[in-house]
């Protein structure tokens, strides 16, 4: 059973990560720095629970806020570059954060045991969950409480006026600007919100794995983050969740017997989707068809 709870945990964590990129992608910005923001939440929350012996919840919030602050600062220079150049710039920034953690030492000795991040060795013994006797299921539930809150918040934001404003900027920033929308405020806010969510996800992730190191937050993780909303489409948050399930459960677990061929398939999949389904797997058309099914309306029956 623990295997399935484990799956549930991974899907929950990646959903949080995917939604952090979703919010930024709504404004038309592709951020490859989400793994970096995630690492800030992970290291800071980890240090707070391990070194300062803080409770997890406030540590998570502080981790999220720290990541949001950094994301906000990144948001400003990001305004100056668009498209491919923004991808390159955010990759560079993500790597910058990763290298920072690679060189970051802050250890204290407690009871003869050294605790805290140790550069390339990583940050071991983030033991809040085992110390408090949480089972795999407990942790899975906790992750989904956080993921559920993030899903609900993003879903609500998306349907509100704020969501329309983000989408307007994403669809055509010149037109949005001439309607009176302040691009700086919108784009930087999206980065800040995305940073907060990624940081929150990272702080949960650190406690879930109990051991983090810089390599957890490399370009592969950053690619995962942006792939979910691209695969899932920007119609609504559920596309991103479906994409996480598709990638993590189907591509990585069901196809596990294929071994290394999976990675090949993963790349091919992305190319296929971008070419044939530019609005993602879960586009507005699919969404309205599903809505039709649930409201009892059969297709073609409205004649």
């Amino acid at each position: 059973m623990d295997f399935y709870f484990g799956m549930l945990q991974i899907v929950g964590l990646h959903t949080i990560l995917g939604l952090s990129a979703y919010i930024i992608l709504l404004t038309g910005q592709v951020s490859m720095a989400q793994a970096g923001f995630m690492s800030i939440g992970a290291y800071i929350a980890g240090m707070l629970t391990v070194l300062a012996e803080m409770h997890l919840i406030p540590a998570m919030l502080i981790g999220g806020v720290a990541a949001a602050l950094v994301a906000c600062i990144v948001g400003f220079p990001a305004l100056r570059v668009k498209g491919l150049m923004l991808v390159v710039a955010t990759i560079a920034f993500g790597e910058f954060i990763r290298i920072f953690w690679f060189n970051f030492d802050y250890q204290i000795s407690r009871g003869g045991v050294k605790l805290g991040p140790e550069g390339g060795e990583g940050f071991k013994q983030i033991r809040f969950f085992p110390e408090n006797g949480w089972s795999t299921l407990d942790v899975a539930i906790f992750i989904w409480v956080v993921a559920g809150a993030v899903i609900a918040a993003v879903w609500w934001m998306d349907r509100s006026r704020a969501g329309k404003v983000l989408r307007a900027v994403g669809e055509d920033d010149l037109a949005a600007q001439s309607a009176g929308i302040n691009l700086t405020v919108v784009k930087v806010s999206a980065f800040t919100a995305g940073g907060f969510i990624a940081g929150l996800g990272g702080s949960v992730y650190a406690h879930y794995t109990t051991h983090i190191e810089h390599l957890n937050f490399d370009i592969v993780m950053a690619t995962f983050a942006i792939i979910y909303p691209i695969l899932g489409g920007l119609s609504n948050v559920f596309g991103t969740i479906l994409a996480v399930i598709f990638v993590q459960v189907f591509l990585l677990e069901v196809l596990r017997p294929l071994g290394d061929l999976r990675n090949l398939l993963f790349g091919a999949m992305i190319i296929v989707v971008m070419n044939f389904m530019p609005h993602g797997l879960f586009s507005a058309q699919v969404a309205s068809r599903i809505k039709g099914v649930f409201s009892g309306r059969k297709e073609g029956a409205n004649a």
């Binding site: 989408r167 307007a168 055509d172 600007q177 001439s178 309607a179 009176g180 929308i181």
Partner: protein, 235 residues
């Protein structure tokens, strides 16, 4: 109503406007003509705050709006209908209209949308359709309607006839004429000099970043206007 005073706007080192001055009187249709690359769009964008002039000033109703944020300028009562329409393609018609009212927070937005639908019945028919699926003419109407949602006193229109069939162009010009009759001042940039001069109260010729002529449609021989509007004097 709008006074543009000796503005210089540059893209990097290249000055697209080399000191443009013009004025748009209240209640009139003012047309800006000129060949490609003369700086017509740059002029509109400098007024709308999308580009910041390096020198010179823009005043609207006596207040200096040079280099203000586009949002502030929309709030003051200037709305831009951008070149190539630039509707939000993946949003439906209704939401496109709502974005136009972004700077407003009164409770008459829905009733304004209703009167927009009366003016543009075609938009009402398609209110739930994605704007990207509309025809070019319908998109242009939507772009005009979206700008109207800001309740502007002055509308800046950038080549509304671009790429449209002659019949649709006539309809667009009729709409511009009607809007003006109802009291909205219009500052229109056009390549279609013939049509534009029919509704213009006054016009300016812009060539290579400088105003080279200003007057009323009768002031210059039409053939000369056409030649200079399309080719420029140096051609």
């Amino acid at each position: 109503m709008l006074e543009v005073n000796d503005i210089v706007t540059a893209y990097g080192k290249i000055e697209a406007l080399k000191g443009v001055s013009l004025s748009v009187p209240e209640g009139q249709i003012t047309v800006l003509l000129g060949p490609n690359g003369a700086g017509k769009t740059t002029t509109l964008m400098s007024v709308a705050g999308l580009l910041k002039p390096k020198r010179g000033s823009v005043t609207f109703e006596g207040q200096d709006i040079t280099g203000r944020q586009p949002g502030t300028i929309v709030q003051r009562g200037i709305a831009l209908v951008p070149e190539n329409r630039l509707v939000f393609p993946d949003m439906n018609v209704h939401d496109n209209l709502k974005t136009g009212a972004y700077v407003r927070n009164d409770n008459e937005i829905e009733s304004d949308i209703e009167s927009i639908y009366e003016r543009f019945p075609r938009l009402k028919e398609r209110y739930h359709q994605h704007a990207g699926t509309l025809s070019g003419g319908e998109q242009q109407m939507l772009a005009v309607a979206r700008a109207l949602m800001a309740r502007p006193k002055l509308m800046l229109m950038d080549e509304p006839s671009l790429g449209l069939a002659p019949m649709i162009v006539e309809e667009i010009f009729r709409i511009i004429h009607d809007l003006n009759q109802e009291g909205t001042s219009i500052f229109l940039v056009e390549q279609n000099a013939n049509m534009a001069l029919k509704i213009a109260h006054q016009f300016y010729l812009l060539e290579q970043g400088l105003v080279t002529f200003s007057g009323t449609p009768g002031d210059m021989d039409e053939n000369e206007v056409i030649q200079r509007a399309y080719l420029g004097t140096t051609a």
